[in-house]
């Protein structure tokens, strides 16, 4: 630990009268006034929000939505890791169960029966996105979420998928199925699986 002692020059009498500082302050404020006031410069840096929209930077953590793959199928396989990791417990997933609807894409076997995010609880921490093994949930750019009731702010699966849009990526399950179809080892089963893709 070394301490650096900052040498402060003693103020001269002129400086101690505050006059130079006052003049300096006047100069600074005048410069800005001149730049911003109408008829002089008119260059305010304030963004006028509802009309002018902010350009959301890369990596911004907005509302988490579910995404679909390029074939329009739900990517989520209902592994519930996000539900587990979610610090404010905003995510609520209902797994399909044994008789529940089959996944809408080939080979994934499973997709959530219901997927709810309570946007009032969500703290936009991004852990759900980080933990998702399927790249099915992403924090997107939406930052102004409004509603007139608490119920409305609980986004269900349909809404989340609609808002989330499509996210292309490695189609893990489809790829596995294609790979399996190439192998002739278990032709009967793979044929059935291929049929399931349609």
């Amino acid at each position: 630990m070394s301490t650096k002692v900052v040498e402060r020059k003693p103020l001269t009498a002129w400086e101690r009268s505050y006059v130079p500082s006052i003049l300096g302050g006047l100069g600074v404020t005048w410069k800005h006034f001149k730049r911003t006031a109408p008829f002089l410069g008119n260059k305010p840096i304030t963004m006028e929000y509802p009309e002018q929209k902010w350009v959301v930077p890369e990596g911004y953590r907005g509302a988490p939505y579910l995404v679909k793959d390029q074939d329009g199928a739900t990517k989520c396989v209902s592994c519930q890791l996000c539900e587990f990791v979610c610090p404010p417990k905003a995510i609520r997933i209902t797994p399909p169960g044994a008789e529940g609807q089959p996944a809408d894409r080939a080979n994934a076997e499973k997709m959530p029966l219901e997927f709810e995010i309570n946007m009032l609880r969500c703290i936009f921490c991004g852990l759900c996105q980080e933990v998702c093994p399927e790249e099915a949930i992403f924090l997107q750019k939406d930052y102004s979420l409004t509603g007139v009731s608490r119920e409305e702010m609980v986004y269900d699966k349909e809404k989340l998928l609609k808002l989330g849009g499509t996210h292309a990526g490695v189609q893990k399950w489809k790829h596995k199925l294609e790979e399996a179809a190439e192998q002739e080892t278990f032709p009967v089963e793979t044929a059935a699986a291929t049929e399931a893709t349609k």
Binding site: R35, T36, K43, P44, I45, T46, E48
Partner: protein, 362 residues
């Protein structure tokens, strides 16, 4: 006009006084409203912002070009603010001392308006007897100081009545600050009156109309008066009674709605009064270097009023400007400045002026 001239002088005096009071009061009120707007706009521009630019009455949008332009300038903002002050819930906390709590805002605002009574805001209007001052007192300046020192009661009472520590601290600070600077302010003016030789403010203007503005003869007195005026009106850099960052809102922390608005009104009315005083005492009042004689006609009278108002506006802008330029003083610095700098300086100034008047001007 003739029937006015033919009225009984007493009736005429009463009639004119009532009109003058009404006009001065109305103009001051709208001045307060719009100085708030100017304050917001100027601060916005100094900080590269836009300032109030949304509020508009519903019909404003139907006026092409002008409507949106005025809206962007925020012309309608003070109306909305005023309406809001009137309509907001007037909340009185249960723990306050109710009588004082209710009286305090009134005490804060009334002296500010009373000060304006002795300000000669123009020469004459219409006939030569009709002086543009509500009360042409011969002891105008004493009256002013007497009234101004009452203003502190409103703030002290507000701080005390709120029965809460932040307002209380604000009130304490305020009383100390105001008392301190009143001395410096009063002393600075003594030298002016030594030169003029009269306490009537109209006479001060008369003196300046011929003898030149007193700011050139008494720059030190002006400077002390200016700084003390900032302190007296609780404006930055001397807004310690309010100081949001330390005392939440200072003496008016517990106030809302119209009672809060009265404090607000009081502060701006004080600013206006101080500006008017400075214009009168040091900047020749309604005169200009080449316009010194009382007006003979209606037009000239209005011109003089215009000159006065313009000078006053300049000071208002100065008040506003300074607010966005300086950081707040520390309390000990404030006291130090008042007692150990300004009072000796003012005393010295009196002495020097007295000597000059006694030996040189004789």
């Amino acid at each position: 006009m003739d029937f006015l001239q033919n009225l009984d002088p007493t009736v005429q005096f009463i009639l004119f006084s009532v009109v003058k009071i009404g006009v001065v009061f109305g103009v001051t009120m709208s001045f307060v409203a719009y100085s708030v707007l100017v304050e917001r706009k100027v601060s916005a521009w100094i900080q590269d912002r836009v300032g109030p630019n949304r509020t508009a009455p519903p019909m404003a949008q139907f006026v092409p070009i002008l409507g949106p332009f005025l809206t962007r300038l925020g012309i309608f903002q003070p109306m909305a603010d005023g309406l809001k002050f009137l309509l907001k819930e007037d909340f009185t906390p249960s723990y306050v001392r109710k009588v004082y709590f209710w009286i305090a805002p009134a005490i804060a605002v009334i002296p500010a308006f009373l000060t304006l009574a002795v300000i000669p805001f123009g020469s004459t209007l219409g006939n030569p007897g009709n002086k543009m001052v509500i009360a042409d007192l011969d002891v105008g300046i004493l009256y002013t100081f007497g009234i101004v020192s009452l203003g502190v009661y409103g703030i002290v009472l507000a701080g005390y009545a709120a029965n809460s520590k932040y307002p209380f601290l604000g009130g304490i600070r305020s009383s100390a600050q105001m008392i301190s600077y009143e001395i410096a302010m009063g002393m600075s003016v003594v030298s002016v009156f030594l030169l003029v030789g009269d306490l009537n403010l109209s006479k001060v203007i008369e003196y300046q109309a011929h003898g030149g503005w007193l700011v050139f003869k008494q720059p030190l007195a002006f400077f002390i008066f200016l700084v003390a005026a900032f302190a007296e009106t609780n404006r930055l850099p001397f807004d310690l009674p309010e100081s949001e960052s330390e005392l939440v809102g200072g003496y008016h922390t517990e106030y809302s709605s119209m009672k809060f608005a009265l404090f607000f009104l009081g502060e701006y009315a004080n600013m206006i009064a101080s500006s008017a005083m400075m214009v009168t005492l040091f900047f020749g009042g309604w005169t200009l270097p080449f316009i010194g004689d009382p007006a003979s006609g209606l037009l000239g009278g209005l011109l003089h009023i215009g000159i006065f108002v313009a000078k006053m506006c300049a000071f208002m802008v100065l008040f506003i400007w300074v607010r966005w330029m300086f950081p707040r003083f520390r309390y000990d610095q404030l006291m130090d400045l008042g007692w150990r700098r300004f009072i000796p300086l003012a005393l010295a100034n009196i002495l020097v002026t007295a000597l000059v008047v006694a030996f040189v001007n004789r």
